[in-house]
């Protein structure tokens, strides 16, 4: 278990049972399993929406860097931190594990 938690997520997938409502540019995510309500800001919401279990983290970084070129230099680190946080909250699992 500990080794899994430490291993970076390769294929992030949104947890089934989570529902969302859009608020301005943010996203409120309710996780039915963990009974958890999380508000994601714009950048975290962009990551969350792309966690489809098919797109790799590297591909996700490339896609977001192309969409937000001003933030390209820090995109890799930001995306990985966000994916890790989403996994920690139980909102994302690794479809590749």
């Amino acid at each position: 278990m500990r080794a899994d938690a430490a291993r970076p997520v390769a294929l992030p997938a949104r947890r089934a049972g989570a529902s969302t409502v859009a608020l301005d540019d943010n996203l409120a995510v309710y996780d039915d399993v963990g009974q958890l309500l999380i508000l994601l800001n714009t950048s975290a919401a962009a990551v969350w929406e792309r966690c489809d279990g098919v797109t790799t983290v590297d591909a996700l970084v490339d896609e977001l860097a192309a969409t937000y070129p001003d933030a390209a230099a820090v995109m890799a680190e930001d995306v990985r931190q966000t994916v890790d946080k989403l996994r920690e909250l139980g909102l994302v699992a690794d479809a590749g594990s």
């Binding site: 529902s19 409502v21 608020l23 301005d24 943010n26 409120a28 309710y30 039915d32 009974q35 958890l36 309500l37 508000l39």
Partner: protein, 302 residues
């Protein structure tokens, strides 16, 4: 014939949301006060079942003080008259929340104006009860000052017309609501650390009807700040409501969507207030604005 001291005054059934109860009291004037204080919670069906009984009994060895029980459970002992009623109201509130989980509940005040629901989410000390009292005196229909029930089936705010509970800090702001002035003659003096201001019945303060929320105002009392409104973004309004929801997580995705729906259909503002009259005037202005844009049928429905 039993003496007044030992006579039990059984009172009419009451209902707070889904919680049915009645009060019995062996002191005639305290029973009369309870009747007035709980006027807004009168159960229209006199034959409705009573789930719980509150008893206000003279404290043995006390000096004009009372013990408060729900069924056989002692809630408080040796209380002054007003404080005994305060304990009763506190437990009714707690029990109404526990019995009404089918609704989405908010820690908030709520009012109705011409079919427009006004939600005032706020923590204790934010001034929501004082603002609710001020608006009720300005002829808004009172829904509640503490526990708002949003019916997930109909999308309406439901009346839960418990007495408005005012703390000492509010007494000077709304002197007209002093129980000494509000309670009818013959019900005895008020003695309590809080005021329990009755609404409904013959009090002249009306209970609102079920209505959809169209206005969210988040009050914050600040004696040093000018009274004014600040628009809230959808996210800010959502967070304010979600943080003051009592049972959001048990309602899950439906509850989350309902909160977002309330935000989407409402004008949402933060209200900083140091002057109650100004604050009430600002809320009235917002209601007028909403009434101007909400379809006529929607305002009249209900």
């Amino acid at each position: 014939m039993p003496s007044e001291r030992h006579r039990v005054h059984c009172r009419a059934p009451r209902r707070g949301l889904s919680y049915r109860f009645a009060v019995r009291c062996e002191d005639a004037s305290l029973a009369a006060q309870a009747d007035v204080v709980l006027a807004g919670l009168r159960e229209p069906d006199a034959g409705a079942p009573i789930d719980h009984w509150y008893s206000l009994t003279t404290t043995p060895g006390g000096v004009g003080t009372f013990d408060v029980r729900r069924d056989e459970e002692l809630l408080a002992r040796d209380q002054r008259r007003g404080d005994a009623l305060g304990w009763l109201v506190w437990d009714v509130n707690r029990s109404a929340a526990a019995a009404s989980g089918q609704h989405l509940l908010f820690h908030a005040g709520a009012l109705e104006a011409d079919g427009i629901g006004v939600l005032l989410p706020g923590t204790s000390g934010s001034g929501k009860s004082t603002l609710t009292a001020g608006l009720t005196c300005a002829d808004f229909g009172y829904l509640t000052d503490e526990l708002v029930a949003f019916d997930l089936m109909t999308g309406d705010l439901l009346p839960y017309a418990k007495p408005i509970t005012l703390k000492a800090g509010s007494f000077a702001v709304v002197p007209a609501l002093d129980p000494a002035r509000v309670l009818p003659p013959g019900t005895g003096p008020w003695s309590g650390t809080e005021w329990q201001v009755p609404v409904g019945g013959t009090t002249g303060r009306r209970v609102g009807r079920p209505c959809p929320p169209r206005l969210v105002v988040v009050p914050r009392y600040d004696a040093a700040a000018p009274t004014g409104l600040t628009p809230l973004s959808d996210t800010e309004a959502f967070l304010s409501l979600a943080l003051h929801a009592v049972n959001l997580l048990p309602h899950g995705a439906a509850g989350t969507a309902a909160v977002a729906g309330v935000v989407a259909q409402s004008a949402c503002y933060a209200l900083t207030m140091s002057d109650l009259d100004e604050a009430c005037a600002l809320v009235q202005g917002l209601v007028d604005d909403v009434a101007a844009v909400v379809p006529h049928g929607a305002v009249d429905a209900g």
